[in-house]
């Protein structure tokens, strides 16, 4: 039997937790669905079980004591705005959930840039590498280079140093002048500034280089060294791991499936109550613009109150949101990716890692659609999550709208979806998950 809630939140990161807690202050029935074994999202990954910052502990406590039904390990694979139902998948079952109001808090993932050697084992996303270490990968004494841009670099480097890694370099692609300008604007956020200084103190033995980025990675079976460009000079650094952090990109597959409108920068458009152009569908956190954990929680609270029809409580949070949006804008300006980063891949560098399609092959086409059709780029199991985002950065291509399911799902899930929705029969292209896997 289908369970129905007055308010359903998709995503149990900071935005989703805050939204659910705020919404539950009404007497409405609230549920949260998250695809990880525990709530917490990217930054508080691992949930209440792990040592977490104070703010996280407070939110976990509030969620536990609130009247909210939490579905862990439940991935929403389909959403139907007209029927107001979702399909969620766990390792054991597929089940429908009905809603009256929906809050999308699906967060973000890392952007990966192709360069020669980026497919070598041990070249990873910085956030992903940190997650593996959190989950038990020992790194004491390992040589690590952390490269990319923005505050995540320092956060990851500090974490790795704390766990005994030998961080050989922190490569920040931005110039020292944009960092200086950013530091000035940070003076208005003493808390954030203190946080940054403390992260740098923890990683003080690692050299921090500006105007620096990876050019190529080398190794026979796995990573052995990388070549970086540092203030215009090339330098080779031996290392066991390369952790890359070139910005986050929003998870907008579900919002797009629901027909939510995206703005020019491909973020979900909302009004001041975080409501999308669809009545009753709200969006909060990274999908509306990359802004960090504080902005995500504020937006989540606004969406939660608004969905529970408490506009006054929502409006009280507008000034705080405006303040953190300013910080987000300053961050975006200071850490804008330089155009050189779009020229690192060579003609024989694989752009699509699922199907091993080279940059040269993809470049023969003038749109993502044409490249997909003729080269199988983006047709593998990642469904273009990695190569589509890279192609967008490299060529400015628009990556088409999402078709159900949001992720390669199991056969049973597909059957359940198609029996529930008639509109799918003509549009759905089956995902490449049986024979398509290598």
């Amino acid at each position: 039997m289908q369970q129905t809630f007055e308010i359903v939140v998709i995503g149990g990161g900071p935005a989703g937790i805050a939204a659910a807690v705020a919404a539950s202050q009404s007497s409405k029935r609230v549920a949260v669905l998250d695809d990880n074994p525990r709530v917490g999202g990217q930054i508080w990954r691992g949930g209440p079980g792990l040592a977490q910052p104070k703010a996280a502990a407070r939110w976990f406590y509030q969620l536990e004591t609130a009247n909210v039904r939490v579905f862990n390990g439940a991935r929403v694979i389909h959403a139907d705005a007209s029927a107001r139902t979702l399909q969620a998948e766990t390792t054991r079952e597929i089940f429908p959930i009905g809603y009256q109001n929906l809050i999308l808090a699906t967060g973000a993932r890392e952007l990966f840039l192709p360069f020669p050697g980026w497919t070598l084992p041990n070249v990873m996303g910085a956030g992903g590498f940190q997650a593996l270490v959190k989950s038990g990968l020992p790194i004491a004494g390992k040589r690590v280079v952390v490269a990319g841009t923005g505050p995540l670099l320092l956060a990851v480097a500090a974490y790795l140093c704390d766990h005994g890694a030998n961080v050989a370099r922190i490569c920040e692609q931005a110039s020292s002048s944009s960092l200086a300008a950013f530091a000035l604007r940070m003076l208005a956020f003493p808390g954030k500034l203190r946080e940054a200084l403390s992260l740098r103190y923890k990683s003080r033995f690692a050299k921090y280089a500006t105007q620096s980025w990876p050019v190529s990675a080398h190794g026979k079976i796995s990573l052995e060294s990388i070549t970086i460009s540092e203030s215009g000079r090339l330098r080779e650094i031996p290392c066991d791991y390369l952790a890359c952090a070139f910005h986050l990109i929003p998870n907008t597959e579900l919002p797009r499936m629901l027909g939510c409108h995206l703005n020019q920068e491909a973020f979900v458009e909302t009004d001041e109550l975080q409501q999308t152009l669809h009545q009753g569908i709200y969006c909060a956190g990274e999908p509306t613009g990359i802004g960090g954990v504080e902005l995500s929680t504020i937006e989540g609270r606004i969406a939660g109150h608004a969905a529970a029809n408490d506009k006054r409580a929502a409006a009280k949070l507008f000034p705080a949101r405006a303040r953190y949006r300013k910080l987000a804008a300053a961050m975006k300006q200071a850490f804008r990716l330089r155009p050189e980063l779009a020229t690192l891949a060579k003609p024989d560098t694989f752009l699509c890692r699922c199907e091993d399609v080279t940059l040269h092959q993809v470049r023969q086409h003038n749109s993502w659609k044409s490249a997909k059709l003729h080269t199988r780029c983006g047709m593998g199991p990642c469904q273009g999550r990695i190569c589509g985002a890279a192609a967008n950065f490299l060529f400015g291509w628009n990556i088409e709208s999402a078709r159900p399911p949001v992720f390669p799902a199991r056969c049973e899930s597909l059957a359940a979806i198609s029996s529930l929705t008639s509109s799918l029969t003509t549009e759905t292209e089956p995902p490449q998950f049986h024979g398509g896997f290598q």
Partner: protein
Amino acid sequence: MPENVTVYVNDLPVTVPTGATVAVAVMLSSNVCRTSVSGEPRAPLCAMGACFECRVEINEVRHLRSCQVACEPQMKIKVGR
């Protein structure tokens, strides 16, 4: 709960802390999860379920993302396919 779990990666025992994902066990042993279409060794990239580079066979079920599955005692993991 015991502190460690032992699993088998291509029949070789690997011991990891309780709660570690299968991706960690693979990185501690063979370091390679799968072989790409053109024969390259591949290992985790995103560790958050998006890239599918970490897929392996677990207890005879193929194509599972090792970064999304926690190690359980005696799990049999096959890599390099």
